[in-house]
Symmetry: C2
Subunit: 368 residues, 2 copies
């Protein structure tokens, strides 16, 4: 996607393999700042404190984390350690496990002398693969938007939640890829951006990247989603996913389930963009997806830009009050109109997913 | 309710009728500050900028606004002007109209010389009436909590939304009155306080007053409501109302509808506390309730306490992004388990309401 007019990816290896450059997403939308990750620990920290976030980008960053970890020691024990260290950073997004297993499967059989070279190549290939998946999701999802536009030739109002855009992936996004594709094709679109408390990835990240690309959008409180749907102001909902179970249940940012309920109650189509690496074939349904509990301080405090221009944190709650912060929820497949995958749109059912991913569905159900 | 150990109301007339003292609720939970309203314009402003808010307290404050308006001119035209000015401050809560009609009906027939005296007396009576209604709601609602506790003798987890507590009324609250009554009786309760973006009345006001009274509670993002209900962590939901239509549809703070959907989907009882003055008998259903659109700045900015102790506002969104801010939504009666009124708990139906309010239901349906 274009940032200040230049095609840009969210992550890039530096020449000479001394590091990987990322955007520090904790400072957006107030400040566009880059950070260079030099070591395995840098990568683990960047994922844990959410300088990079979004299931696909977590996977891509972890892949480079393995490459960085092997810089001085490419032994098998170092490889095992790096994969274990990175896997422990965030529990919910399955792309992390997928990326680490891919790196491990590629590197473990090689002699130690070849591992570093291969790790950088595999991480780059994984990133290129992410971009291609997202472009395919964009094409398939755009057809849903086009169809809605042809049904009634006015601006198509799309609601999303959290950030499953460019910033959540290597490029283009998952849920927002169809929006960018439609916009670039000339279909008039407008996006309802739910702010996505507590970390406000909607208000901070989705709004920022839509603004960068020139896509019309309006930020609303998460609470407003139902009211907008009741009043016919939402034509379809597209969200991303951190993990889809093999039956089509989907874990995504907390609050997704509430939007799915409102969409269902108002006959608004509700789609989830799910690239292959986000499907956990080992899980029969969403009940087995681990839900991350994040720090209470994300609820009690919030970061913003003061009038003087400095980015700072303020307390929202009484000092005597405790807070809880489950970061994801599971939307049952029955509330999902369809899954937008890189291979097409399918029903949120085991049959729907295995029709598109027959190889994975068959092999993993044997090992489950 | 006790504040720092002293029984306190949220509004009180000053001796000598020179003004009315309120709590400036825009500064809570960081600062407990009082403000004296001297004139009609003071009152109109305090309601409009939400220094006082909550349907019952808006009505009570407006009643005193009429009394203050008549200080120097108790003519009929001044009375009309005052009622019109106050009615225009906030559109959704019907208690405002109810209080102004009550003041008007009491004062208009009197000679001008008697109006001022009568206005202060009527406003005081209206406030005393609010306290009694809320105590009755507390008693009836407590039985629901007690029943749940007897079913399984452990802490009863109650979820609420926004603030329909002491601060929203003259005393005790509507939705929180049953919680206080249960707590004071010794039934173990715990309240899930949804923060209620964009103005955070949950995180700021409900959490503060529960802490003042010593009631165990946990603040969560609005988005977490569905996840908590999916995992059996909510035994019942009790919310307030800004206006109930005669069929049991209820307008309340935006996001209430999403909680009602989640409660319905998970078999969690969903109750709405509705005192008589909150029922709009002229409306056949909720579609006619005007929904206030408040300033976008409530979404783009948020107020909190900086580390240095000063209360300040920070920007959350990119400067290029616009925001929308519908402040209420309508929860259809089909999602409501029951209405907790001062006359008992009833189904959210026209029949249920008219069984308890036969006089009002009959007279107003004729004038509708």
């Amino acid at each position: 996607m274009n940032i200040h007019g230049t095609p840009t990816r969210t992550i890039r290896p530096l020449p000479g393999r001394g590091g990987v450059e990322i955007i520090d997403q904790t400072l957006l939308p107030h400040l566009l700042a880059f950070r260079i990750l030099h070591t395995l620990e840098d990568v683990a920290e960047a994922i844990a404190i959410m300088q990079v976030r979004g299931a696909p980008l977590i996977g891509a960053t972890a892949a480079y984390g393995v490459a960085l970890a092997l810089a001085e020691d490419a032994s098998e024990s170092r490889l095992e350690y790096a994969c274990g260290r990175l896997l422990a950073t965030r529990p919910t997004a399955v792309n992390l496990r997928w990326a680490l297993e891919r790196m491990h499967d590629c590197l473990a059989p090689l002699p130690a002398t070849q591992r570093q070279e291969a790790a950088w190549a595999e991480a780059a290939a994984l990133c290129d693969g992410d971009v291609m998946l997202n472009q395919s999701i964009g094409r398939h999802g755009m057809e849903l938007i086009r169809w809605r536009h042809e049904l009634s030739p006015r601006t198509v109002n799309i609601m999303t939640h959290c950030n499953a855009g460019w910033l959540a992936t290597v490029d283009w996004g998952t849920a927002l890829a169809p929006v960018y594709a439609a916009f670039d094709t000339g279909i008039p679109v407008h996006v309802w951006v739910s702010e996505t408390r507590p970390r406000n990835q909607g208000a901070a990240l989705t709004a920022w990247e839509l603004a960068q690309h020139g896509v019309p959008h309006t930020v609303v409180a998460d609470n407003a989603a139902g009211h907008l749907m009741q009043h016919g102001q939402v034509d379809l909902v597209i969200v991303g996913a951190d993990r889809a179970a093999s039956n089509g249940d989907v874990a995504n940012k907390v609050g997704t389930y509430l939007k799915a309920l409102a969409a269902h109650d108002n006959g608004v189509p509700f789609y989830v963009a799910v690239p292959g690496p986000t499907i956990d074939w080992r899980l029969a349904d969403g009940s087995g997806i681990p839900i991350e509990e994040r720090p209470a301080s994300e609820v009690t405090h919030i970061q913003g830009e003061a009038e003087a221009g400095n980015v700072m944190s303020v307390r929202l709650t009484p000092v005597q009050s405790v807070a809880a912060n489950p970061a994801f929820d599971v939307t049952p497949a029955r509330l999902i109109t369809g899954l937008i995958t890189e291979r097409g749109v399918c029903p949120a059912t085991r049959q729907g997913l295995t029709n598109l991913h027959s190889e994975a569905g068959a092999s993993d159900s044997r090992t489950a």
